[in-house]
Amino acid sequence: MNRIDAAFHRLRKEGRKAFIPYLMAGDPRMDATVSFVRALERGGADLIELGVPFSDPLADGPVIQRASERSLWEGTTLRGVLACVRRIRQQSQIPLLLMTYYNPVAKYGEARFARDALAAGVDGVIIPDLPPEEAGGVRVAARREGLDLVFLLAPTSTEDRIRRVCRATQGFVYYVSLTGVTGMRRSLDPTLMEGIQRLRKATRIPIAVGFGISSPGQAERAARWADGVIVGSACVRLIEQSRGVRDAARRLQAFASRFRRALDRCRKRTR
């Protein structure tokens, strides 16, 4: 059992929900990313998503676009992110997923990427512009290495696609909570509950919800139906607004504990 499966297994047994924050690796610097991961873990994160910057992030809203630009400006590469994961692994065993667009992976080489990612200590990969139809090469490579390839579903997904994606995904299925790109929203999409229930009928794999969830209150509500909540832009924005790396790390830990408490309230209520 890999770290992702182990985490969801443990959470399920405890009746708890996963808190999965997202960070852009290398924003504002690569050594900061290591301390941010540690801060989030201390605050109560269960899994962490590390973004790999891309010049054309077309599934992302303005907050993550800016983080991507800052990180590229710092010279971040996929190879550099893997080195960062190795450093994190010296201090932490928290499950780590890379979120990357497809082109950097294609350029790196799919087989080599899967091998190097696993060796560095990555547990799973999310590639938002790679649907199962085009994922053949990456899937073969990831399976061979034992790296989870997480696929996404959206409110627009048809029943047919839900079945197909749930068969393909590993570790969990990433449900995009709204019809749109990443970013903070005032309220949850009204179709969220219905959307997650559609997935439940098709699969027993854990369901994590992301896109548009930025406050502990929203996370708590989403977690009534989902097994985990992914928070990206709010986390990245907090870093953007901090005064320096130490201030950001301190605020990230407090941020994570607020989400942790909210998600644990949800456990008490659903029991």
Partner: protein
Amino acid sequence: MKRRLPDRHGHFGPYGGKFVPETLMPALGELEREYLAARRDTAFRAELDHYLREYAGRPTPLYFARRLTEALGGAKIYLKREDLCHTGAHKINNCLGQGLLTLRMGKRRVIAETGAGQHGVATATVAAAFALECVIYMGTEDMERQALNVFRMRLLGAEVRPVEGGSRTLKDAINEAMRDWTTNVRTTHYILGSVLGAHPYPMIVRDFQAVIGREAREQILKIEGKLPDLLVACVGGGSNALGLFFSFLEDPEVRMVGVEAGGMGLRTGKHAARFAGGTVGVLHGTRSYLLQNRDGQICPTHSVSAGLDYPSVGPEHSFYHDEGRVTYTSVTDREALEAFEMLARLEGIIPALESAHAVAHACKLAPAMKKKQTLIINLSGRGDKDVEQVAKIRGER
């Protein structure tokens, strides 16, 4: 043997495909089903023909450029006058087709990206004619060099949204249009302007532009009694080129050349020559040749012409490039500017800077050809939009 490309997964050999977020996958499927049904529907085809004829002004002439031919002293040069289409470029062919598809799908809002502004103007025009709400995304750098077209789009009732991200050109306008489409996919159709993007777009745009080559073939056979020896067209995304080439692909005696933007020269790195300077990768939903660095990040491009200033190229072109069916080359900004002026002086036709790239390369090839040979240049657009920019470059303002 008739080609059947793309295959049913949208691949042209190793190129093409559907590399988009899940949110868009169902919409691409719907678009493909709707398009394939429309293509078989005689009423749809008749309606499109009607608009192409009565609204866009087709067929466009195939004009024998006598003075240009004499000046170069080689092959007979014909110009396929897409610049005479309504809105001043071939872009209207595709926009009318996709506009009718939009109505067929029951959607009321269209969005589009634009580089030179020609596709934006054509989309805004069709949106006005078909009473559709219209938003055009355009990089701020392009808005500056194509100010006239920005005004035209607004005059036509479209909202032009400036794109500040990245290089502030066509690539970034496509990113932003795709984000809009991801958000509003249930009510909105994205009228992609070139043979780019995820399947079925490269196929749909090619089919709607193929009218150029169908006409040209009929016209040249009527005038010359034989097929042309050479076709030349500029290639940004590559829709005008594919539109002309498509009807001649099965004729091995017809040579074809696609001309990319050589910018300030390939050695300077400031260009948009994907085949000479690029490698295979995935951008905007499709696998094709791409200007990227060794980490898979997309490189900035440069061209004097906004419409060719794009880091990737239509996947079907990549396929013909590898097959050797079409030859790809590039000309520099300077050569394109010379051709721009030469065509104006010799033929009284001011070409778009994009099309001037094709003219420039044809001028290199024609003198080495025999006088009885014929050559067709796709004059994909007119140059009114570029006059101010050219004046600026020549320092006459």
